[in-house]
């Protein structure tokens, strides 16, 4: 008898959908803009904190409103990062490592900025924002099927993740802007010669990236026990590992990776716990082992500026 209960399965699905929301935009932003963005963690956290501030300061109970504002705030953050940091660096011809280091600088900056904002809000309202409890929203219904009770957070994240996947599929395959985005991802110079406004496409990519991730962060507040300014940082290992499974190019493989990592993290650790007595606090180690296995066994060759030191028979693959 497998020691897996209903809760583990539900958690697995929960995490799968969240990872889908966080990792797919990361892959999309990397392959279009060629920026390894460590500030991706901030998009999650800022999305979550938009919801937290709305709830704590204004008493907002609507997840829809919180998500819309989180989309705007995180999207703006992404566009601001692009216009003031990544774009000037790219124009100067800075190497990929330098842009990555600058994104790390942004990550630190945004993180402490949020701490300051939380403290200022605490000073004026007296509510503790540095560790904020779960928020109960009223505008998403709970569904009960038989003995299975699906919380409103589950409904929201499930609907959003499925909606995002459908949106990306239709957007990238059917609309001209989506096709332009794929063209820029494949060959920026050729795309520009063909009359695609590269700058516009990239700005739009940042908006979507930041926005979708921010919405994920806002929904996270209805699931996670506590929200802290390090919410996004705690998830960065999983999100990047999933993006690496996709080789930072393939959205489909990234999506599959989200389910794989969620499975390893939730079902895997409960099996190990039952059989070998591994403490559940070591769940992150499984993700790390998965990361090392990916890097050794299926290295994303040539992606992210790497050299194809080891050649494979079939090169290229799904894009």
């Amino acid at each position: 008898m497998l020691p897996i209960d209903q809760n583990t399965i539900l958690n697995f699905l929960f995490y799968s959908f969240f990872y889908l929301l966080f990792a797919v935009p990361l892959t999309l932003s990397y392959r279009t803009t060629k920026v390894i963005n460590f500030a991706h963690a901030n998009f999650i956290t800022y999305g979550a904190y938009v919801a937290v501030f709305l709830n704590g300061l204004l008493g907002n109970k609507s997840l829809l409103l919180a998500s819309l504002l989180a989309f705007l705030v995180s999207g703006t953050l992404a566009i601001v990062s692009y216009f003031f940091v990544f774009k000037p660096l790219e124009k100067r011809g800075a190497s990929m490592s330098l842009i990555m280091i600058s994104s790390m600088g942004l990550w630190i900056m945004y993180n402490y900025l949020l701490y300051m904002l939380a403290d200022i809000a605490h000073f004026f309202s007296g509510v503790n924002f540095v560790s904020y409890g779960r928020i109960l929203y009223t505008d998403v219904p709970e569904i009960t099927i038989g003995s299975l009770r699906l919380s409103s957070g589950f409904i929201a994240v499930c609907a959003t993740a499925v909606g995002m996947s459908l949106f990306f599929y239709i957007f990238l395959n059917k609309t001209s802007l989506g096709k332009a985005m794929r063209a820029v991802a494949d060959n920026p110079v050729l795309a520009e010669i063909s009359g695609i406004q590269r700058d516009k496409v990239i700005t739009f990519t940042w908006l979507i990236t930041g926005g979708v991730v921010g919405v994920g962060g806002a929904i996270w507040t209805s699931f996670s026990g506590t929200v802290t300014p390090t919410t996004g940082d705690a998830m960065i290992l999983q999100v990047f590992t999933i993006a690496f499974i996709g080789g930072l190019v393939s959205l489909l493989r990234t999506g599959i990776g989200a389910f794989v990592i969620a499975l390893i993290e939730n079902v895997g650790i409960s099996l190990l716990n039952a059989w070998f007595g591994v403490p559940t606090s070591f769940r992150t180690f499984l993700t790390f082992v998965a990361l090392l296995v990916i890097l050794i066994a299926f290295p994303p060759l040539g992606a992210a500026g790497g050299l194809p030191f080891r050649y494979r028979k079939k090169r290229g693959g799904a894009k």
Binding site: L89, S97, G105, I108, M109, Y112, G305, L307
Partner: protein, 350 residues
């Protein structure tokens, strides 16, 4: 009234430790192109190896059964405090043993970690090392023999047998500065050697270096071995200086890495003297802020946040407006260059 001597000693000790980290990171990242975001990992690894080894061996060599008296209990800490002043030779011997072991273990871990990451791009290198550091922290936080969240307290100071605290810290400062000089000497020699020039070639164009027959993964693994070993030494020095170590975010977490990165970017990537300069400026401001901030009276939010914000802002601003840092990357000083310059000067004057 600010204690000037105390301030100088604490500043220079921090400068020495951060200087070692900055020079080794600059060698890894500025000269060889290995974007190491896991400096805090090797530093923390060194600190924990040194601290745990010293604490356990100290009790064992004083005939105390470690299985009964844990060095993390009050009893063990009291024993450690009692024995610390008795035997100077034991203190110093354990200190040297910790340094050696930390160098070797951190170096080997760095070498092994290079296997999965060197063949892929800089993003994977940086990210994997960063997450290794966080995982190490989580591991220590939940691992009982290393003291869990309490950390290791009451590490016997190598000069604990000297009664005067000022002399004790000054002597320790001399040791730290000695190690800083050694680090600078070693890295300066490697930097100007044929190996250093090869590494600069690898950093500038990996494909070209590969085509010219340089074994790029092996070279990078060597760099990680040396750099990580020195980071381990810095960790041991910090653990013995503070006398206690705990797996908090600020002590062995990412902020250490970020500080060191800010130093080398400010000082100039690829210039070893620049990274010392960066460390001087940075640690001076840091210590000054620690002495000054309690008097500022900011109550709305913690002044620590401003400091953290400024670190990030500094990295971004320097990269945007002065990417080469304060000191530019200089040319290599080889023997041939010196001879050539002397001859050219001699011809001009003669």
């Amino acid at each position: 009234m600010i204690d000037v001597v105390g301030f100088l000693i604490s500043w220079l000790t921090f400068l020495g430790i951060y200087g070692i980290l900055a020079i080794s990171l600059n060698f890894e990242s500025g000269t060889s192109g290995v974007t190491n975001f896991g400096k805090a990992f090797f530093y923390g690894l060194g600190a924990y190896i040194g601290a745990s080894l010293t604490v356990y061996l100290f009790l064992l060599l004083n005939n105390i059964d470690v299985s009964k008296v844990s060095p993390f209990d009050v009893e063990g800490i009291v024993y450690l405090g009692q024995f610390a002043t008795k035997n100077p030779l034991l203190n110093i011997g354990l200190f040297i043993l910790s340094l050696l072991l930390a160098f070797i273990v951190a170096g080997i871990v760095g070498y092994l970690l290079s296997y999965p990451i060197i063949r892929v791009g800089p993003a994977f290198v940086g990210f994997t090392l960063l997450s290794t550091g966080e995982l190490f922290r989580i591991f220590v936080l939940h691992y009982k023999p290393l003291g869990e969240s309490k950390g290791i307290m009451s590490i016997p100071h190598p000069f604990a047998w000297i009664p005067n605290p000022t002399v004790r810290t000054a002597l320790y400062l001399a040791v730290v500065l000695g190690f800083l000089a050694l680090t600078y000497f070693v890295f300066n020699r490697i930097y100007n050697s044929p190996l250093g020039r090869t590494l600069r070639a690898v950093r500038d164009d990996e494909v070209a270096a590969l085509c010219l027959g340089k074994h790029v993964p092996k070279l990078k693994a060597t760099v990680l071995f040396i750099g990580s070993g020195f980071a381990g030494i810095a960790g041991v020095l910090m653990a013995f200086y503070l006398g206690s170590i705990s797996p908090t975010y600020d002590m062995i977490g990412p902020p250490i890495t970020f500080n060191v990165w800010a130093m080398i970017i400010l000082g100039g990537m690829g210039n070893l003297t620049g990274s010392i300069l960066g460390a001087i400026i940075f640690t001076f401001l840091d210590r000054l802020l620690i002495f000054v901030t309690p008097n500022l009276g900011i109550t709305v939010f913690s002044p620590d946040y401003i400091r953290g914000f400024l670190v990030g802002f500094l990295i971004v601003a320097v990269l945007l407006f002065r990417p080469q840092g304060i000191l530019k990357e200089g040319k290599i000083e080889t023997l041939a260059w010196k001879v050539y310059e002397e001859e050219v000067k001699g011809e001009k004057s003669g």
